[in-house]
C-alpha cells in the first residue's frame, strides 16, 4: 500500500532531515555571527561603561562625543574624501574598463595584474613611494584632497574587479554594435547602454571604496590630516569609553552612508529590473 503512494515516503523522511542538518547549519551560522556580533556588543556595552561622578555613565560618552566640534569636522572630512574618491574612481575606471573590454581585450590580463598590485604592495610602501612624487605639487600636497588620489589607488582593485565582472556578464560587443548601428557615438553608448547595465557593479564597487576611504588610518595619520579614523585613534589614546562610543557612532553613520548610496544608485528602479541587468 505505502509503496503505491509516492508522496508518503517523502512526507515521512522530510522531518527527520530537518532535525539533523539545520542544527549544524544553525551552529555554524551562530558561530560566524558571534565572530562579528560579539565584538560589536562588547563595544556597545563599553560605550555605556565606566562611572562619571559616581553615577553610571549612561549616554555620557555619546554626549561628550557630540559636544566635541572635532567630531563633526573630522567625520565630514572623511565623508567628503570618501565621496570624492568614489566619484573620481568611477570617472576614471568605468570608461577604462569599458574601453579595454570593447577595444583592447588583449590588455585584459595586464589589467587583471595591475588591478591587484595595490593589494599585493603593502600600503606603507605605496606611501613611501608616493610622498616624494606628490611633494612637489604643494598646492595639493598640503590639502586633504591629496588623500582622494591615494585612495583611488587603494580602491582600484575592488572597483575594477567589480566592473570587470559586470562587463563580462553582459554581451558587451553586440550591445555596443547594436547601439552604434542605432546611431550612437561610443560615448553615448557608454552613458546610455553600458552604465545602466553596470549599475549593480558600480554600486558594489562604490560600497567598498567608501568603506576603504572612511576607514583608512595609516596614510592620513602619516600625512597628519585629521580624518575620522585619526580622530578616533586620538580619542582612544585618552578616553577609551568615549572612543567606544565614537566607534559605535561611526559604525552607524557608515551604514547610513552606504544605505544612502544604495538608494541613490538604484535610482528608483525595481528589483526585477536590477535582476535583469545582471
Amino acid at each position: 500500500m505505502a509503496a503505491l503512494s509516492p508522496a508518503a515516503p517523502a512526507t515521512v523522511r522530510r522531518p527527520r532531515r530537518r532535525r539533523h542538518l539545520p542544527l549544524w547549519h544553525a551552529f555554524w551560522i551562530l558561530a560566524a555571527a558571534a565572530y562579528f556580533i560579539v565584538p560589536i556588543i562588547s563595544l556597545v556595552q563599553f560605550s555605556f561603561g565606566g562611572r562619571v561622578d559616581g553615577h553610571s555613565a549612561g549616554f555620557h560618552w555619546y554626549a561628550t562625543v557630540f559636544a566635541d566640534p572635532n567630531f563633526a569636522s573630522s567625520f565630514w572630512l572623511s565623508v567628503q574624501i570618501a565621496l570624492e574618491t568614489v566619484a573620481l574612481s568611477i570617472a576614471l575606471l568605468v570608461p577604462t574598463a569599458f574601453w579595454i573590454h570593447l577595444r583592447l581585450p588583449r590588455l585584459r590580463p595586464v589589467m587583471d595584474f595591475v588591478s591587484v598590485l595595490p593589494f599585493v604592495v603593502p600600503p606603507i610602501v605605496l606611501i613611501v613611494g608616493l610622498i616624494p612624487f606628490l611633494q612637489p605639487f604643494t598646492f595639493i600636497y598640503s590639502r586633504p584632497e591629496v588623500l582622494d588620489f591615494i585612495y583611488v589607488v587603494f580602491a582600484m582593485p575592488f572597483l575594477y574587479r567589480s566592473l570587470d565582472a559586470g562587463l563580462r556578464a553582459i554581451n558587451l560587443q553586440t550591445l555596443a554594435e547594436a547601439s552604434a548601428n542605432c546611431g550612437a557615438s561610443t560615448w553615448s553608448t557608454l552613458i546610455r547602454v553600458v552604465v545602466p547595465n553596470l549599475r549593480s557593479a558600480i554600486i558594489g564597487g562604490s560600497f567598498l571604496t567608501v568603506a576603504i576611504a572612511m576607514g583608512e588610518f595609516t596614510i592620513s595619520s602619516l600625512l597628519s590630516f585629521n580624518t575620522f579614523p585619526v580622530y578616533i585613534f586620538n580619542i582612544g589614546q585618552s578616553t577609551s569609553n568615549e572612543a567606544a562610543a565614537l566607534a559605535v557612532i561611526s559604525l552607524l553613520l557608515t551604514w547610513a552612508l552606504m544605505i544612502a548610496l544604495y538608494v541613490v544608485g538604484r535610482g528608483g528602479r525595481t528589483t526585477a529590473q536590477m535582476a535583469a541587468t545582471r
Binding site: 553586440t174 550591445l175 554594435e177 547594436a178 542605432c182 529590473q273
Partner: protein
C-alpha cells in the same frame, strides 16, 4: 530607398584566413538579396563590413553610388538585426525601439508614437512595456527588427536573425520579415545558411563560397539553373551523374548504356568528353516493375518516350508529403522524391524502373 554595391571586397584575418575574396554584389533599391552559404564562407564578414563594424583590406561599399567605408557605423544610416540577442536589457521593448530616435534627439511624443507603431507592425502591440528578459526569443528578434527600422534606415541588414529560434517560429517570422520588407520597400541584405529560408523570401539569392559569390539569381534560377557543382549541391538535393558527350549539337550524352538528351548547353564540350550531369530528386520518376494492371509507383503512365533504367530500392526515408527513395540503377546511386502515399507500396530491395523525363537531366550552365 537605396542601391547598395559591394566592389571587390577583400578581407584577410590575422592567421591568414581569407574571409572575403574580391566579393562583388549589387543590390537594387527596394530589393531583398540573401547571402546564402556554408558556415565560414564570409557572410557575416561581408555584412559587418557593410554595417561598418569591420574594415576591408580592399574594395568599396557604395550606397547610391557613394562610398561609405569612411563613415563610422553610427553614421551609415543602416538598420541591423543581429544573430544573438542584442536588445538593451535595461530598456523596455518600447524604449529599445525608440532608442535610435532618442539618439537623434527627436521629441519624446514622436519617438514613443513611432515605437508603438513599429511594435504593432511586428505584432507586439501588447508587449510594449516588457523588458527583454520577459520576452521569448522570437519576440526579442521582432523587437530587434522594429528597432532596426525605427530611424528609417536606407538599408536593412539581417545576420541570421532567426537561427536561434525553433523551426515553426522561424518559418512564421521569415514570412513576416518579408511582408514588412515589401511593405516598407526597404533595400535588404539577409544573411542565412538556410537555403529554404533564402529561396522563400528573397528577390535574389547570392550563393557564397570561400569569400566569393558563386552565383547570384532569382530563387528559381538558383534552384533550376545552378551554374557550378557547388551551387547545385548546396541548394537543394541533387543526384550527380557522370556521362560522356555523344553529340554536342543535339545535347545528347551517353550514360552507361543509354543515350539521353540533356537540358543545357553542351556546345562547349567536345564529342567524347566527360561531362557532369545533375538531376533533382523530384525529377526522377520510379515505375514499379509490376505486371500490367498495377499503376506505376509514381503515378505516371509508364516509360513512354524515355529510357528506363532498371534498378533496386536501397533506402526509404519518409519526409512528410514526399518520401525519398534511394535506388541503385545503371545510372548510379540515385535518390528520388515520390509522393508518400505512392511510396507506401515500396519496400527495400524491390525492383523498379528509373525514368527521367527528357530535359530534366541538366548540365551546369
Amino acid at each position: 530607398m537605396a542601391r547598395v554595391e559591394l566592389r571587390g571586397l577583400h578581407k584577410t584575418f590575422g592567421g591568414g584566413t581569407v574571409a572575403l575574396d574580391r566579393l562583388e554584389l549589387d543590390v537594387a533599391s527596394g530589393e531583398l538579396v540573401s547571402l546564402l552559404g556554408p558556415s565560414g564562407c564570409g557572410k557575416t564578414t561581408a555584412l559587418r563590413i557593410v554595417a561598418g563594424f569591420e574594415t576591408p583590406d580592399a574594395g568599396e561599399v557604395l550606397v547610391d553610388g557613394v562610398d561609405v567605408l569612411g563613415l563610422p557605423a553610427s553614421r551609415r544610416n543602416m538598420g541591423m538585426v543581429f544573430q544573438s540577442y542584442s536588445l538593451f536589457p535595461n530598456m523596455t521593448a518600447k524604449a529599445n525601439v525608440a532608442y535610435p530616435l532618442r539618439i537623434r534627439r527627436r521629441p519624446k511624443a514622436e519617438r514613443e508614437a513611432r515605437a508603438v507603431e513599429l511594435l504593432d507592425l511586428v505584432g507586439l502591440a501588447r508587449q510594449v512595456d516588457r523588458y527583454p528578459h520577459q520576452l521569448s526569443g522570437g519576440q526579442q528578434q521582432r523587437v530587434a527588427l522594429a528597432r532596426a527600422l525605427a530611424h528609417e534606415p536606407a538599408v536593412l541588414l539581417l545576420d541570421e536573425p532567426l537561427s536561434a529560434l525553433d523551426a515553426k517560429v522561424r518559418v512564421q517570422l521569415r514570412e513576416e520579415v518579408r511582408r514588412i520588407q515589401l511593405e516598407l520597400g526597404i533595400t535588404t541584405i539577409y544573411v542565412t545558411h538556410d537555403q529554404e529560408e533564402a529561396l522563400s523570401i528573397s528577390d535574389r539569392v547570392a550563393v557564397l563560397a570561400e569569400g566569393r559569390v558563386e552565383q547570384i539569381g532569382t530563387p528559381a534560377e538558383i534552384y533550376n539553373r545552378p551554374r557550378t557543382p557547388f551551387v547545385a549541391s548546396f541548394v537543394g538535393t541533387v543526384n550527380q551523374i557522370d556521362a560522356v558527350v555523344v553529340s554536342p549539337a543535339e545535347g545528347a550524352v551517353r550514360c552507361g548504356e543509354r543515350v539521353l538528351v540533356v537540358d543545357g548547353d553542351l556546345s562547349g564540350h567536345a564529342q567524347g568528353a566527360d561531362v557532369g550531369l545533375y538531376l533533382r530528386p523530384e525529377d526522377v520518376v520510379l515505375v514499379t516493375d509490376e505486371p500490367e494492371g498495377t499503376p506505376g509507383a509514381s503515378g505516371t503512365s509508364g516509360a513512354s518516350g524515355t529510357s528506363g533504367a532498371s534498378g533496386k530500392v536501397r533506402s526509404i526515408t519518409f519526409l512528410g508529403p514526399v518520401t525519398r527513395v534511394g535506388v541503385d540503377c545503371e545510372l548510379g546511386a540515385l535518390v528520388a522524391d515520390v509522393a508518400s502515399d505512392v511510396a507506401l507500396g515500396l519496400g527495400i530491395g524491390d525492383p523498379v524502373t528509373v525514368v527521367v523525363e527528357p530535359g530534366r537531366m541538366r548540365t551546369l550552365v
